[in-house]
């Protein structure tokens, strides 16, 4: 299994997701929608599984590989949101975003055939990154909805709050898994390297959003604008630090 086979799996998966998205937009057909989305997830998931087997380690080392998970988790988050909160438009969102990431991978794959460095050969590695990918997908969806509400005025606030809450809980879990792993691998659970510093800042920002919503439920616009800022922080944490002069050569996270 190589990157060249990606489209063989991505295309059918995208078709499933797109049909499900259209059906859910029109209303009704709930069971078919769920079935089709799951079908797409199964197809895309099997590509990841096959990559995993042929690489001999979880495909989580390069940006391209983490994007695979992002493309996988977005429809999954969409499906969960659809099932739990009955938002009809959410699958269109997740499918569109997933399409973007798959296209990036198809047309500009960052492929590295390097072996994992010893510090990454740990049982903590997969959960740490997968949980973070899930958190990125959830908060990404919340950000888009916040933009949607700011520009078009549709009230999405309950959904935004829920997604942010879920996103924050996963950010917390990912961060703490990272701390436990770092203790195991390097002897310190938190060493304030640039990635960790930005993770802390991002976590605090999302925390502020939740507390702000509780303290001032009427101040919708400032809260939504703040949420956009949170996502900027998150991007900094995810890939921005690779371009940040202050972080050059100072991070143990340079591989991601």
């Amino acid at each position: 299994m190589t990157w060249n086979d990606l489209w063989l799996f991505a295309l059918p998966a995208l078709v499933c997701w797109a049909v499900a998205a259209v059906l859910s937009l029109r209303g009704g057909w709930r069971r078919t929608v769920c079935l089709l989305t799951s079908c797409g997830l199964l197809i895309f998931g099997s590509y990841i599984a096959l990559m995993w087997i042929s690489l001999g380690h979880p495909p989580l080392r390069t940006m391209g590989e983490t994007r695979l998970w992002y493309s996988f988790f977005l429809p999954l988050v969409g499906l969960i949101t659809y099932v739990r909160w009955h938002y009809r438009w959410v699958l269109s969102f997740s499918t569109l975003l997933s399409l973007v990431f798959i296209c990036v991978n198809l047309f500009k794959p960052e492929i590295h055939s390097k072996e994992l460095m010893p510090a990454l050969q740990s049982p903590w590695f997969a959960p740490h990154v997968i949980v973070y990918m899930f958190a990125y997908a959830t908060t990404g969806a919340a950000t888009l909805m916040a933009l949607w509400q700011l520009l078009r005025g549709h009230d999405q606030l309950p959904a935004i709050d829920n997604l942010t809450r879920v996103g924050l809980s996963f950010l917390t879990i990912g961060m703490l898994f990272g701390a436990l792993w770092a203790k195991e691998a390097w002897g310190t659970y938190w060493s304030w390297d640039p990635k960790e510093t930005w993770a802390a800042a991002t976590w605090l920002c999302y925390l502020i959003y939740l507390h702000l919503r509780r303290s001032r439920p009427q101040a919708v616009r400032p809260a939504l604008l703040w949420l956009l800022l949170c996502f900027v922080c998150l991007q900094m944490c995810w890939w921005g630090i690779n371009y940040l002069p202050s972080a050059q050569g100072a991070s143990v996270h340079t591989y991601s």
Binding site: R165, T172, G187, I208, S215, S246
Partner: protein, 306 residues
Amino acid sequence: MKKIWEMTEGALVCCGIVVAGLLLQLFVGPVRWDAMAWPTNIVVLAVMLLGILVMHLCRGKVRVFRWMSTLHAGIPAMLTCAMLTILMGVTRQVPQGHVPMEPIGITDMLSFWPFVLAYVWLMVLVGMVCMTRLRLPLWHNVPFLLSHLGIFIALVCGTLGNADMQTLHMVVQEGKTEWRAVDARHRVHELPVAIELHDFFIEQAPLRYMSDVTVYTKKGLVVRDTIQVNKPLSVRGWKIYQYSYDETKGAESDISIFEMVRDPWLPYVYLGIFMMLAGAVCLFRNSPKSSHKVNESKITRDDDME
């Protein structure tokens, strides 16, 4: 006179803390974390907890103490911490124990007084709000306490215990037994544990290096095991990590370098971390199912808070 303290006062207090921190930085110099070593840290912890308890008990009489457990105080405190953390993220930091690159001190943020004081203030507020939730029926407050008390325990114990953490490096030759190790300042320490290195080897294919060792303690404990990256060995409160080897010789290296870590506060930090993990799961599980319930629960919880 104004009815109660609100968010503006929260912001003002934070500004005051930053200014006070800058003055301290100017006249006292950076925070000296090594001065926090045992028993100073336990005294500081006791004073902090006692202070929180006293303020909590006086909250009926003193308005400010009551205000301290509200979001009006908490949000500006979080904001201040977030801004200083972002400042840390955009400035290049000097390695730990080094002198800052500029006169203000922001390149050594962890010893920068405004940064430290802002986090102390936030933790005091978290402690205060936990006190208000330590009441019956406790069951309703469990998710809240897990996350808030969790971060309090993890951060306070992690910070106070940092000075008690010993990180030493021990160089052992094949066939020899060693009980001395050096710290970051090249001072030699005699340890209560000794390592005998039988063999050091590198598996070329996955670039994995490991040491076959026997560890002895003063009390007569003997452990034979293999130590490799990600697979440290724990003996009597010491964690022994595979750290390095003679890199000029590569696979032929006849020495192995171990990192020896002792961290007596670790169990408490772990307690905090696992409480936070449980709190995060609660946060995920307790997300309301419909928008109607969001509003309902929000109102009741707001009453709780303030």
